[in-house]
C-alpha cells in the first residue's frame, strides 16, 4: 500500500536518510584507507574536510531517524483504519511480519546514531583524533543497519493489504469487532509493577551514587540494568499503565497513548524513557574509551552529565507514567 501520503512520507524519509548515510559511509571508507595525520598532501586536506561532512550527515541522519520512528507509529495508527481487523496501531503493526521488526530497528537505529555522535564528540576533543578509526568503523556498520531498516519498512508497506469491498460473492471477514489482539499475553500485574518500581528505584540510587563517584563497575551495572529496565518499562506500559490512561481495562496498547485523545502523553512518556535509557547506556559505553588517549576528563564530564540527565529523565518518566495509575487507585478504584 504505497499509494498513501503516509507511506510516501515514510519511504521518502528512509530514502533521504539512506542517501545521506551512503555519502557518509563513502567518506568513512576513504578515511579508513587513506587517513594519514602526518601528511600534508591535498588528499589529507580533503579528507579532513570530509570528516566534517560525515559527522554533519550523521547528525541529520539521527534527526531523520527519530522523526521516522515517530511517523512510523503514527502511520500505523492511520493504517489501522484501512486494514481488516486492525483497531489501532498494534493491529496495524502486527498485520504482517515486518511491522514490529521495523519499529525495533528504528529505535535501535536512533540509539546507534546517538552513540556515534557521542563518540564523535569525544574524538574531536583531542588534537590527535584518537578515536578516528573506531569512529569510522562504527559508521560503516551503521549503513547495513539502516539498509535493513529501509528494506523491512518497504516490505511492511508493500504487504499491507487494505480491506476493500470486492465483487466476489461472499465476503472474507476479518477479525471484526472487539479489541484487535493485545501485543502481550497475560502478565501478572502485581509482580510486574513491583519489578518496574523496584528497578526504577535501583536506577535512581545507582545514578545518584554515580553522580558523586564514577565507579567503572557500577557504571557497567547501571547500563545493563537500564537495558533491562527499557524492556520491563515497555511491557509495563503495554500491560499496566496504558489501560489506566485509556480508562479502558481491556485496551492494552503502547501506541494509542501517542494520540491526541490522550493529550499526547505518550510523547512525554517515550520522550523521557528513551533518552534516559540512551544516557544511562552511553554512560556505561563511554567506559570503553581507553584511558591512555588523554580524554579522561572529557569522558568523565560526559558521564556525570549523562548520569544526571538519565536520573532526572527517569524520575520524570516514572512520575508521568504513574500519574493515571495513581490517580485511579486514589480515586476509589480499589481492586479495579
Amino acid at each position: 500500500m504505497f499509494l498513501s501520503a503516509w507511506s510516501l512520507a515514510l519511504s521518502l524519509l528512509s530514502l533521504v536518510a539512506l542517501i545521506l548515510t551512503v555519502i557518509a559511509t563513502r567518506t568513512a571508507v576513504k578515511v579508513l584507507r587513506w587517513w594519514d595525520p602526518a601528511s600534508d598532501s591535498n588528499r589529507q586536506i580533503r579528507l579532513e574536510n570530509e570528516t566534517w561532512l560525515s559527522s554533519t550527515l550523521v547528525q541529520y541522519g539521527m534527526g531523520f531517524q527519530i522523526l521516522s520512528l515517530l511517523l512510523f507509529v503514527l502511520a500505523a495508527d492511520h493504517f489501522s483504519q484501512v486494514i481488516s481487523g486492525a483497531m489501532c496501531a498494534t493491529g496495524a503493526l502486527t498485520a504482517n511480519a515486518y511491522g514490529m521488526p521495523t519499529l525495533l530497528l528504528k529505535i535501535l537505529g536512533a540509539f546507534f546514531y546517538g552513540f556515534w555522535i557521542v563518540l564523535h564528540g569525544f574524538d574531536i576533543r583531542s588534537e590527535q583524533y584518537p578515536l578516528l578509526k573506531a569512529k569510522y568503523i562504527a559508521l560503516v556498520c551503521l549503513l547495513p543497519l539502516l539498509a535493513v531498516d529501509v528494506v523491512s519498512q518497504t516490505l511492511y508497506l508493500a504487504n499491507l493489504k487494505p480491506d476493500i469491498i470486492t465483487s466476489c460473492c461472499a465476503v472474507v471477514f476479518g477479525e471484526g469487532g472487539g479489541d484487535s489482539g493485545n501485543l502481550l499475553g497475560a502478565v501478572p500485574q502485581g509482580t510486574l509493577s513491583m519489578l518496574f518500581y523496584g528497578i526504577a528505584l535501583v536506577l535512581v540510587f545507582c545514578g545518584s551514587f554515580l553522580l558523586r563517584c564514577l565507579h567503572p563497575l557500577l557504571l557497567w551495572l547501571n547500563g545493563l540494568v537500564w537495558l533491562l529496565f527499557v524492556g520491563v518499562s515497555l511491557v509495563a506500559i503495554t500491560t499496566i499503565f496504558s489501560s489506566y490512561i485509556y480508562a479502558m481495562p481491556y485496551h492494552h496498547c503502547p501506541f494509542c497513548i501517542l494520540k491526541p485523545e490522550y493529550g499526547y502523553i505518550g510523547l512525554l512518556i517515550y520522550g523521557t524513557l528513551l533518552p534516559a535509557a540512551f544516557f544511562g547506556i552511553s554512560g556505561a559505553l563511554a567506559e570503553l574509551i581507553p584511558t591512555r588517549i588523554g580524554l579522561d576528563a572529557v569522558v568523565h564530564r560526559f558521564q556525570k552529565t549523562a548520569m544526571l540527565l538519565s536520573t532526572l529523565l527517569l524520575v520524570l518518566f516514572v512520575l508521568v507514567v504513574s500519574y493515571h495509575f495513581v490517580v485511579y487507585r486514589l480515586m476509589g478504584g480499589e481492586g479495579g
Binding site: D40, N42, E127
Partner: protein, 228 residues
C-alpha cells in the same frame, strides 16, 4: 611569557605535495620573534611571504619542521584546533580590509566574538571601547560600505583587537592608504606595541620599513630568509 613568542625551526611548506604541480613555498625557515616586538616581513610577491604569514597566523600547519606560536606547537595539528588557537592568539589586518560589506561597523568588529558565545551586550561593550580608542564610535551603526578608507582601516584594526590576541598580523596594511592615514596607522601600531602586543607587518612601504618603531626587517626570497 617566554622570550620568543614565535619560534620556527626548519619550517617547510609544500603545496600540492607529491604531485606534478608541487610548489615549495617555504624551505627550512628558522625564525624567532620575541614577545612585544614589531617586525616587518619583506619580499616580492611569490616569495613565500604570505605563506610564512599564514604559518605564523595559524592558518595552516607547516608541512615539516616545528612552529611554536604563543606556546603551542602547530605541527600537523587538525584544522579545528588551529582555528581555536588562531581565534585566541592572532588578530588579522588584511590588505583589502576584508570587511563584510552588508554589515555595520559594530557587526564587523564583533564577528570574532560570535563563535565564542559572547552575548550582544558584552559584544557592544567590548567593541565600544575599541571604537572609542580608535575614534570611530560615531560610525558604529553605519554599514561599512558607507565609510571612508581611513575609517575602514580602523574598523579592521578594531576587529583584529576585539579578542585581545597577543599577536597582530598586518598584511600590506598601508597599500591603499595615503600618506597621512599610513602615518596614523603606524601610530596606532606603536600604541599597541606599547600595550604589549607583538606586531608583524608585511610591507614595501618605506614609511613602514624605515619607521623607527620597526625593530627588525626580515627579507624573504624563494621561500628562504634572506639577510638584506
Amino acid at each position: 611569557m617566554a622570550a620568543s613568542l614565535i619560534e620556527l625551526e626548519k619550517v617547510c611548506k609544500t603545496y600540492n605535495q607529491d604531485r606534478p604541480n608541487q610548489v615549495r613555498a617555504l624551505v627550512d625557515i628558522d625564525l624567532s620573534i620575541a614577545a612585544n616586538a614589531m617586525v616587518c616581513l619583506q619580499g616580492a610577491s611569490g616569495s613565500g611571504k604570505s605563506t610564512l604569514l599564514s604559518v605564523i597566523g595559524c592558518v595552516f600547519p607547516p608541512t615539516s619542521g616545528r612552529a611554536t606560536i604563543a606556546g603551542k606547537a602547530l605541527s600537523r595539528m587538525p584544522d579545528r584546533f588551529l582555528t581555536i588557537h588562531r581565534l585566541n592568539t592572532i588578530g588579522f589586518i588584511f590588505q583589502h580590509f576584508n570587511l563584510l560589506p552588508g554589515l555595520t561597523v559594530l557587526e564587523n568588529i564583533t564577528l570574532p566574538l560570535m563563535p565564542l558565545g559572547v552575548g550582544p551586550g558584552e559584544r557592544r561593550e567590548r567593541a565600544g571601547r575599541l571604537m572609542a580608542m580608535l575614534s570611530i564610535g560615531h560610525r558604529a551603526n553605519f554599514p561599512v560600505s558607507q565609510i571612508s578608507g581611513g575609517e575602514l582601516q580602523r574598523v579592521a584594526i578594531a576587529r583584529a583587537l576585539v579578542n585581545d590576541p597577543p599577536i597582530i598580523l598586518a598584511d600590506e596594511p598601508t597599500a591603499h592608504l595615503d600618506h597621512a592615514l599610513s602615518l596614523a596607522f603606524m601610530e596606532i601600531m606603536v600604541d599597541l606595541q606599547q600595550a604589549g602586543k607583538t606586531i608583524i607587518l608585511t610591507s614595501h612601504d618605506q614609511l613602514i620599513t624605515r619607521h623607527p618603531a620597526v625593530e627588525r626587517i626580515i627579507g624573504i626570497e624563494d621561500g628562504k630568509i634572506h639577510v638584506p
